[in-house]
Amino acid sequence: MAVETSQSVAKAAGANSARGRGRRTENTPRSTGPGRLRRALSTHWYAWSMVAPVVAVIGVIIGYPLARGFYLSLTDANEANVERTIGVNHIPATYEFVGLDNYKAVLTDNVFWDRLGWTLVWTVSCVALSFTLGLVLANMLNRKLKGRTFYRMALILPWAVPAFVSVFTWRLLFNERSGLFNQLLAGGGIDAISWLNDPTWAKVSVIAVNVWLGVPFMLVAMLGGLQSIPAELYEAAEMDGATAWQRFRHITLPGLRPVSGTVILLSSIWTFNMFPVIFLLTRGGPGDATEILVTYAYKLSFVVSPRDFAGSAAWGVLILALLSLFAVAYRRALRKQGDMW
């Protein structure tokens, strides 16, 4: 853990007490030599010991694998040459350091760019659809309405069911030969659609399922946001003769901005990394049609044979690089709202 200088601590403490939430306001005087560490330790030992378990767990389970994953991505490790034990024989690792070859291979291969393109389509369409639906439904539920509690409970039901259970249910409904959807279509005289086996329909299906899973979170978050907008604003606007659309456009949307910014970012990250929906619904198929970056990297190391650990690690590092862009955007958004850490 990096140790900050006492100057910046003082700054942080000052900024903090300005917001009236400061606990530790006495500033450690600047000093040099061994006394400084001891003083810092005696001032901060309880804070440090409270965060120590988390730092330890994250360090061991994320720090080590991350460093090792990065190293693996620079080698030619696969199932055949890693350290392994067969029966009583212990076979040492024989993979070699190959520098940036894996990255070169991945980035010059169309597979990566194809998967990246689909991952972006997937993320943007899922987030846009679930956000819009959530916003519309939340606006409806925010009115005086008979049966509001019933609608609310029913609409957030998909959230209450574990995702993998829902996904299996959808597979039952999408079943090509005898699933309910195709039987209903047959009843209407329409040919069966191979929901999960046709590349285009498979893409539509996975997005539909993910939107179905994502709307409840959006809905509840938007409801919370709507309730925090003061009713006086609407009254004043109505007095001035603003139409419903104008009220929505100029009061509701700006009022929702803090909440909507956060949920859009969160759900973008979640959707980008959404493993179970695609893995369980289509296994990435047909072919690679619905494979997003995360499921493809998983496939490289656990599904294909021989397992390509180095390639998978290189994909992983590239995914992480993309996600750090998200992190920077998120941090910016937080700073705009005045979070000072």
């Binding site: 853990m1 990096a2 900050e4 942080a12 903090n16 009236g20 939430r21 606990r23 530790r24 810092a40 001032t43 901060h44 440090w48 409270m50 965060v51 378990p53 988390v54 767990v57 994250i58 389970i61 694998p65 090792r68 994953g69 519309v136 409806m140 049966g147 609608y151 039901l157 998909p158 209450a160 574990p162 993998f164 299996f168 249910t169 039952l172 699933g179 309910l180 179905w212 409840p216 979170f217 978050a221 009254e235 803090p258 956060t262 949920v263 990250i269 980008f272 179970p276 893995f279 369980l280 990297a297 998983y298 690690a313 992983g316 590092v317 750090s324 998120y330 937080l334 979070d339 850490w341």
Partner: protein, 289 residues
């Protein structure tokens, strides 16, 4: 979508917020369609689970009502073993996860200490870690420590998934508790830990409930790590076990649906109890300054 149709032909004056009957109808119709879409798949799951295996794809609702799938799942499969595995893994994860995310959340909410900023970054970045980056090295690490197929391996893994987010949520809750309470505790001679444990923790109970629920659901519904780290039919967790009913070679939809209902029902009940607090908690950590 309905709007207030103020320009209706009849010059009747409506009170604020009052709708024309037509608008009301549209509102209710839209909501009903949405409700049906939301409720139908889980409902169909429940219905299918009560049909004999051979009727799994029958479109009629109740023809041959049976508990056969349930008795098959409970009696003849490893379902109870999977349930046990899941309960052990998720239970331990929840207890440890809630405790350490509470202490961390409290520390980052109340203290300004060197390392705070890197720690916040760490928590933020960890939240967006994709499974794919870690899973292979983690697999190797657990293998070399002999922790594959052991609940403890999954517990530690799930902690890293759930704790960063929960720490953010808890920070949001603690930020909402006035610092004067801490000060009063300190004046009365409590240590920082004493203040946290005896004054703040009881006040943060709703937050703790949400954190516990979130950790629980994370573990209960996790698929990737569980599929990779646990092998052998009796070592699987629920997510892994369910996959054995329907894979490339077999399709026992009867057992699958019954097992799925048994898995989803308790989670849905708990969800119903905590849902009021859920979103304030989920967004608090992120939106509150």
């Amino acid at each position: 979508m309905s709007t207030n149709t103020q320009s209706a032909p009849a010059p009747k004056v409506r009170a604020r917020g009052e709708r024309s009957p037509l608008a009301s109808l549209g509102l209710h119709l839209t909501l009903l369609v949405a409700t049906l879409t939301a409720v139908f798949p889980p409902l169909w799951l429940v219905i299918t689970s009560f049909k004999p295996k051979t009727d799994a794809f029958d479109t009629s609702v109740v023809k041959n009502f049976t508990f056969g799938n349930y008795s098959h799942v409970l009696g003849d499969t490893q379902f109870l073993a999977w349930l046990g595995n899941s309960l052990v893994v998720v239970g331990i994860t929840t207890v440890i996860g809630v405790f350490i995310s509470a202490t961390t959340g409290y520390a980052v909410s109340r203290f300004r200490f060197p390392g705070l900023r890197p720690l916040m970054w760490l928590l933020l970045i960890t939240q967006m870690f994709p499974v794919a980056v870690l899973i292979v090295p983690l697999y190797n690490l657990l293998a070399s420590l002999g922790m594959l197929n052991q609940p403890v391996g999954l517990v530690i893994t799930y902690l890293t998934v759930a704790v960063p987010f929960c720490a953010w949520m808890m920070k949001g809750y603690f930020d909402g508790i006035p610092a004067e309470i801490d000060e009063a505790g300190r004046v009365d001679g409590l240590t920082p830990f004493g203040t946290f444990w005896r004054l703040i923790m009881p006040l943060a109970k709703p937050g703790l409930a949400v954190t516990a629920f979130y950790t629980f659901i994370t573990g209960w519904g996790e698929v990737a790590y569980a599929s990779a780290f646990m092998t052998g039919e009796e070592n699987l967790t629920l997510a892994g076990g369910l996959q054995t009913f329907v894979n490339q070679y077999t399709a026992d939809w009867g057992s699958l649906t019954a097992a799925a209902v048994l898995i989803a029902a308790p989670a849905a009940v708990v969800f119903g109890l905590v849902q009021r607090h859920l979103v304030s908690g989920l967004t608090a950590g992120a939106t509150k300054s």
